[in-house]
Amino acid sequence: MFYEVFKFECRYQLRSPLFGIVSLVFALLAFLAMASENVTVGGGTDNLNLNASFTIVQTHFVFSIIAMFAAVAFVATPFTRDHELKSFEMIVASGVSPRSFLAGRFTGGLLFALLAACAPIVGTLIATAMPWLDPQRIAPLDLEPYLFSVWGVMLPAIFIVGSIVASVAALTRSMLAAYTTLVALIVGWIVASVNTDAETIRLTALFDPFGSIAFGEVTRYWTVFEKNTLVPALAGTLLTNRMIWVSVALVAIAVTTTRFQFTAGERSKHAKAEQVTHARTAPVSNVVLATPRFDRWLALRQVASQVRMDLLGVFKSFPFYVLLFFALMNVINGFVAAVSQLFGTPLIPVTRVMLSLIESMYTFMTVLIVIYYAGELVHRERQHGVSNYVDAMPFANGVMVLGKIIALWLIVATVLIVGMCAAMVAQLLSGYTNLEPGLYLFGLFVHQGTLLFLLGVVAVAVQAVVANRFVGMLAIVVLFFATGALDSLGYEHPLYQFGTPESPLSDMNGWGHFLEPMLTIAAYWALVMVLVGVVAHLFMRRGVVGGYSERFAEARRRFTPGIGTASTAALLGAIGIGGWIFYNTNVLNLYRTGDDLEALQAAYEQKYKQHESMASPEAVDVEAEVDIFPEERRIESRGRAVFVNVHPGAIDEINVGVPRLLRVNSLVVPDATLLSNDAELGYRRYRLAQPLLPGAQMTLTWDLSWLNPGFVHARSSTRVVENGTFVNNTEIMPYVGYSSNLELTDNNTRRKYDLPPVERLPKYDAASEFAASQFGVRTRTQFKARISTAADQTAIAPGYLTREWIEGDRRLFDYAMDDAIWPFFSFMSARYAVARDRWNDVALEVFFHPGHAFNVERMLQASKESLDYFTREFSPYQYRQFRIIEFPAYERFAQAFPNTIPYSEAIGFIADLSKDEYIDYVYYVTAHELAHQWWGHQVVGRYAQGMTVLVETLAQYSALMVMEHAYGPHKMRRFLKYELDNYLSNRGGELIEELPLMLVEDQPYIHYRKGSLSMYALKDAIGEANVNLALRRFLDKYAFKSTPFPRSGDLIDEFRAVAAPERQQLITDLFERIVLWDLKVTEATTEYLGDGRTRVALTVDAKQFEADGAGRETEVPMDSAIDIGVFPEGSGARGDDDLPEPLYFGRHQIRSGENAIAVTVDGLPARVGVDPYSKRIDRNPDDNLRSVAR
């Protein structure tokens, strides 16, 4: 019997078009994902092979989730089909046993779901053979990842989700319940994927029914090499996850088998209502009483009534609350994650943060809600047989369409309002009371809502046209993603890119200059949507619908003069506003796509790279005059700079670069002829009448305007804004010579333009003694600036304020440095509040947005303590002031200019430091930036590999030390855990090659993260005093000097000089190689010796690896002093993640392989550990500790 049912099911599935269509679509999508650079699913980094094992498996994990939507149709319809087709009684009568029925249909459905889900694997496989793919990025065919994708990805996912969903379908006989279950599972997955915290991800990964998070966890620390070649083992978190979920699926099947009954469930319902006796029999006279009145207001009343009916239906339906609940869960979860993103420290939940949170966490769900309910609403009358008589009722054709659109809008509005209330509750619960409902409403309804409301119209129109709502939903999804794909194909214009442009919000600058394009483009699309609404009206089905010719005939009938006038008005309006948009984006501004900009970068390099080695004079005295007009987003930049020839030979040609967006009013190179002027790329070549002899000077003067007229279509500059302008010299001043900063850095893009692989920095040995510093020059310069801005703003540049005054509606500031500085100047202007303090004779100032006073005191405190430590341990501070200046959240960094630190409002100003256990990263960032006044401004490295060690790594070390003194080693350990996770997980995203610290090429995960770890390990090994002694000596040699600038090796030499001979190998491992350790305790036994003493014997398994640039590891012999700790029961004073005071702590020489160690301690040991505080780079630090066997 089972076989019969199974065969029937297979035949049924084969005959239904669904299987063929779904398989084809999936295969095609996968094919495109692999074979086209414009479609990505999941995605690996650019340095991976296109057919890297990791990419293939990851792509299929993503497909396993997409495939579920189809899988539900395969596995759930077998159980709801009979019910819908009312053939259930027939099946019952046929005498099939419930179990055979269940088993047969289930296996049949599952088989086809699996077959369809494997279609992408075929698509991928075919795509890798396509001849147009970059052969350099295609590895020889390896079937293993494909096989794993079948049995390790698709099979379990289909079985697990299929079983659960089919069980729900079999027990409820409702497709809706089945889909709701799927949505619940997917939302569970989304909620779980929000967490990226290394410490807890293993736990949250277990909640993911698809296993993709566990896959992410298992491969978190994979390097490029490993991603290219390895397939994950079904072990660890992945295995646990799969086992848990397979169990859940088996339980679901078991429950279904026992609970499933053939007796149709609905009969009993009817009986109850039937009981009602015919109590009242009304007189049959006066049948008619109310008279219909068909006036113009009636249509509106009808629309309102229809909306009411539809909303009643939605608000009484279970799925709505499920969707809403999950959307809210998403927000709450996102809240927890977003507010604790840096080092686990929460943010203060200002409305801007909450808004962007709702947007990022909510949009997906609301888009789903729009798409789903458009289908539900438009087909509602037909689905329930209401249209059979309602369509013959006297309402105008537009009533139904309008009702549906409005109902859908109100659903969206409800969801948004609920999100807003949830966010406000979250704010209040975190003790934040500055509720801003106006900002919420605008952000949600205009910024976020526009897309949703417009999509609602499109969705209703599509559903009005198509007969099947699932086809309609699919069409909308495809349409929605198609516009996304347009963007990556280089079609970016808002006139055809659906929705409003990205418009970041800032507390300082509000919506700023993004408001105008946002509203204009929203208005444009709203008018276009009127036309789409008209289409919906014309094609909305009413009565019995015939073929296309009949529908077009009907549409022509419905195209009444009124509709014609409205459409024409909307069309003219759209053309008018569209024209205005076009005028702004293409006439006032140059319309350039991302591809265009890439091409410009490529052209710049191709044309002018040849001049890179040409000697250029260097600035020694700069006087800048900068007029900032915040409300116009305009900057007038004038000035003069004295240049000197620092080179041994004469200079007869000077190349001057001008920032591309600036208009050149004048640019004067005295006694020179202009050889060429490339206005597009901002590159001018001058021949000097008299060659500039070594040591000779010349003066360059300029007058440039940065105009920012109207608005642009994308990538609007956020540098000059109404409140919070922050520009630097490279953006508003001419510069001399070729700038390699403008080159394309992605090797795949470079290949497209036939450019050789990028050279991020000159090779370590290639940089001569005369090479420039990291600043690109060899000399420091005098600096003076006069900045003017709006009268209510403060403008700030590096230097000491010498004069401040008002002229008309302008406020002017004179700044001057008394000593020469590196030519790296910032110019800022905003409405600031100022906090002032002093440290000895240094003036401390924090310029901040008036609402952001939260952590200003911390910044001042950190500045003082840092100045204490740095001046005591390194060298005196070279300036009389130190200023921190807030700038808008468009970017998230802080940057150290001479005695001046622009500091983003997104990092630190709104950090929540209310609890002691939080890592005070405000303190850390402040200390780090202040340290740059030494590492960067006092001493700077030679422009070559390894240069950022001298700047960033040393700033990290300095901040770590100040922090350790302020907060204790426990906090440091937690901080370093984040650094370790960050370093290890970013190795796999390396674009070119990982380098040892000493040769780092401006790779943040190395010079910051590994830098912290290495410096801390070095400090641990040779002592803080020795490290600082080495740093003092290093400063003595190189601070404030010109060529030859030091290299990283010069620093390492100082370390070696203060380190004992047995530490030299460690220095090599930390700085000159890529070394990883794998340390674990494999066995630990205790023996109680009496008098409270215990002997602990442990076996430590140790391995040391050296990795190459791609992450290919080879084991190397290890012989290193490593911490061994024995700990009692319990946790430390600082909480659960803190180890208690050790009973024993000491260093032991550990060699490769097994090491037997025995120590005797006072007290009862509970855990032992090798490198218990994770000072070494170990991919699996958890097994460093082990509970002892008693």
Partner: protein, 295 residues
């Protein structure tokens, strides 16, 4: 007066659902009889403006229905053979909404109307219960209630008494008859009794055509003297069919009564008193349509 002139409907796949239907339907009850698939429902839907004919014209009291669909809808009450309701909705809420759609904009009038309709259709006690829990009869009464909203001049009811118990059916008949005095009521059914009980005029449809149209009594009278019957054992029926034009058979106490239309009395048969049912079967038979006997 509803007038249909040469109304035809051919579907895209070539099936002809209506074939040159011309009818004049005066005020009063008009019965439309026909087997399943005869085109009754298509005709009903066409008159109810839910489906356009391929050709032909429909006028209601001089109003060109096809050109003024909404004008017809304003005067129409329609109860289709199959219909549904919104889930989790009570008759009170549903009727109120439908009344708005039918143009009863005034809230007071509407609620009075809905109340009255609920009483008339005996749904008052369950007015707040969800319709989707109703039995077939209760649902049907709800369907009738909605068709009566808004003073319709034309009422189309498609198989309205299916699933009603005899008492309900009688009440419904009374209701229809009363309304039918002033308006055009088209009653589509395959239950001959309904027509003979209620209708002043009638038509029989088959294969998309009007086979016969007229008043029931004269149609029955036409058969008088030409209808013959005989009671035989069931085993003999097949043999008899080969020899005489059997229009219907029915079981009576284990024996089969066959009825035959013929100008001359067939052998061994006795005269029978014709009923409308005989007219129905005879008409189908003479048009080559073999209807299954129902009783």
């Amino acid at each position: 007066m509803l007038t249909l002139t040469h109304v035809s409907k051919t579907y895209a796949n070539g099936v002809q659902a209506l074939c040159d239907v011309s009818l004049n339907i005066p005020k009063g009850m008009f019965g439309l009889l026909g087997p399943n698939g005869a085109g009754k429902s298509t005709l009903m839907r066409t008159i109810a403006t839910l489906q356009d004919p391929s050709s032909g014209e429909i006028y209601l009291d001089g109003l060109d229905v096809l050109a003024n669909k909404n004008a017809l809808r304003q005067r129409l009450g329609y109860l289709p053979q199959e219909f549904g309701v919104y889930p989790r909705t009570s008759p009170l809420v549903m009727l109120d909404h439908l009344a708005v759609l039918k143009g009863i904009a005034n809230a007071k009038e509407r609620s009075a109307l809905v109340e009255r309709l609920l009483m008339q259709t005996n749904l008052w006690d369950v007015r707040k219960k969800n319709i989707d829990t109703f039995s077939g009869g209760m649902r049907q009464r709800f369907g009738i209630a909605q068709a009566l909203i808004g003073d319709p001049a034309l009422i189309i009811v498609d198989e309205p008494t299916a699933g009603l118990d005899p008492a309900e059916r009688r009440r419904f008949h009374n209701l229809l008859t009363r309304i039918g005095e002033d308006v055009v009521v088209i009653l589509s059914t395959h239950i001959v009794e309904d027509v003979s009980d209620l209708c002043t005029r009638m038509a029989i449809m088959g294969q998309g055509r009007i086979l016969v149209e007229g008043e029931p009594a004269p149609l029955v009278a036409q058969l008088r003297g030409r209808l013959w019957k005989q009671v035989v054992p069931p085993a003999l029926v097949a043999g008899l069919r080969a020899h005489v034009p059997v229009v219907s058979t029915r079981m009576i106490a284990g024996q089969t009564e066959i009825r035959v239309v013929a100008d001359d009395r067939p052998e061994a048969m006795e005269p029978a008193e014709p009923t409308l049912e005989d007219v129905y079967f005879a008409t189908l038979r003479s048009n080559g349509i073999d209807a299954l006997l129902e009783s």
